[in-house]
C-alpha cells in the first residue's frame, strides 16, 4: 500500500506547479492549461481521500469537476477565439486595453 500522504504530497506539488504556471506564464492558453493542472491535482487528492475512506463521494465530485472544467474551457476558448480574431494575440499582457 502506498500511504495516502504520498498521493496528497504529489497532488499538492502538482497544484503548486499549476499556480506557478498561472502566475508566471503570459500566454492565455498556457494559463488555461495551468488551471487544468490545478483542477487535476485537486481531483487526484479527492480520489485519494475517497480511496482512503472507502467512500464514493470523492469520486463523484471529481466527475462534477471534470464537467465544470469542460464547460469552462469551452467558454474560455470561445472568448479567446473572439479576441484573437480582432487582436491576433493570446498574450494576456497585450490584452491591455483596460490597463490603467
Amino acid at each position: 500500500m502506498v500511504p495516502t500522504s504520498y498521493y496528497i504530497l504529489l497532488s499538492a506539488l502538482l497544484f503548486t506547479l499549476g499556480v506557478v504556471g498561472v502566475i508566471t506564464r503570459r500566454n492565455a492558453l498556457v494559463l488555461f492549461m495551468s488551471v487544468e493542472l490545478m483542477l487535476n491535482s485537486a481531483n487526484l487528492a479527492l480520489v485519494t481521500f475517497a480511496m482512503a475512506r472507502q467512500d464514493v463521494a470523492g469520486q463523484i465530485v471529481v466527475f462534477f469537476v471534470i464537467v465544470v472544467a469542460a464547460a469552462e474551457v469551452a467558454v474560455g476558448l470561445a472568448l479567446l477565439v473572439a479576441i484573437f480574431r480582432t487582436k491576433h494575440t493570446t498574450d494576456v499582457d497585450e490584452i491591455n486595453a483596460l490597463k490603467g
Binding site: L17, L29, N40, N43, V47, T48, V62, I66, A71
Partner: protein, 169 residues
C-alpha cells in the same frame, strides 16, 4: 511493487507538469499536459477508480486537450509568447515519458493493480455504485451540471454569433 509504480508515475506526472510550464511553444505545452493527465489516470487505477480512469482519458485527454490543440492550431498561436529559442529537449523528453507511461499501463493491465491491497471493499467505487449515487444522493448536483452545460452552450453560441454580427458590420 505498487510503491514503485506510484513513484514512477508521480515522476512522470511532475516532469510533464514542469515541462508544460517551461515549453515556450503552446503545442508542446498541451502535449506535456496530456502526458500529465495520462499519468494521473494511471494513479486513478491504483486508487480503485476505474470509472474515473476512463473519464479522465476520454474527457480530459481525449476532448479537452484536443480542443486546446485545435484552438492553438486554428489561431496559429503556438508561439505567441517567446519565439527566440527552441529547445531540443522537448521531443526526446516527451517520447520518453510517453514510453514510460505505456509501459506502466501495460504492466498494470497484465498484473492488475491490486498487488498488496488491504482494501476491504474493492468495489466501493464501481461504475454501478457511482451511477447509483449520481441518481440518488447526488441528484441535485447532477441536475445542476445539466444547467451549467446548457448555460455554457448558450454562452459559447452567443459569443460566436456576436462575433459574426460584429465582423459582418
Amino acid at each position: 511493487m505498487e510503491l514503485i509504480i506510484f513513484l514512477i508515475t508521480a515522476a512522470v506526472a511532475i516532469t510533464g507538469a514542469v515541462a508544460m510550464l517551461l515549453s515556450p511553444n503552446a503545442i508542446h505545452s498541451a502535449i506535456f499536459l496530456l502526458i500529465n493527465f495520462v499519468a494521473i489516470s494511471v494513479l486513478y487505477v491504483l486508487l480503485y477508480a476505474p470509472f474515473l480512469f476512463a473519464i479522465q482519458l476520454i474527457v480530459y485527454a481525449g476532448a479537452i486537450i484536443v480542443l486546446f490543440l485545435f484552438v492553438v492550431m486554428l489561431l496559429g498561436a503556438e508561439r505567441a509568447e517567446d519565439t527566440r529559442e527552441r529547445f531540443a529537449w522537448q521531443r526526446p523528453l516527451g517520447l520518453t515519458l510517453a514510453a514510460i507511461l505505456l509501459g506502466l499501463i501495460g504492466y498494470i493491465a497484465l498484473r492488475g493493480p491490486t498487488s498488496g491491497a488491504t482494501v476491504a471493499d474493492q468495489q466501493f467505487a464501481a461504475p454501478e455504485r457511482i451511477a447509483e449515487a449520481l441518481f440518488t444522493t447526488y441528484l441535485l448536483p447532477f441536475e445542476i451540471t445539466a444547467f451549467l452545460l446548457l448555460a455554457a452552450i448558450v454562452g459559447v453560441v452567443v459569443l460566436h454569433m456576436s462575433n459574426h454580427a460584429g465582423s459582418g458590420g
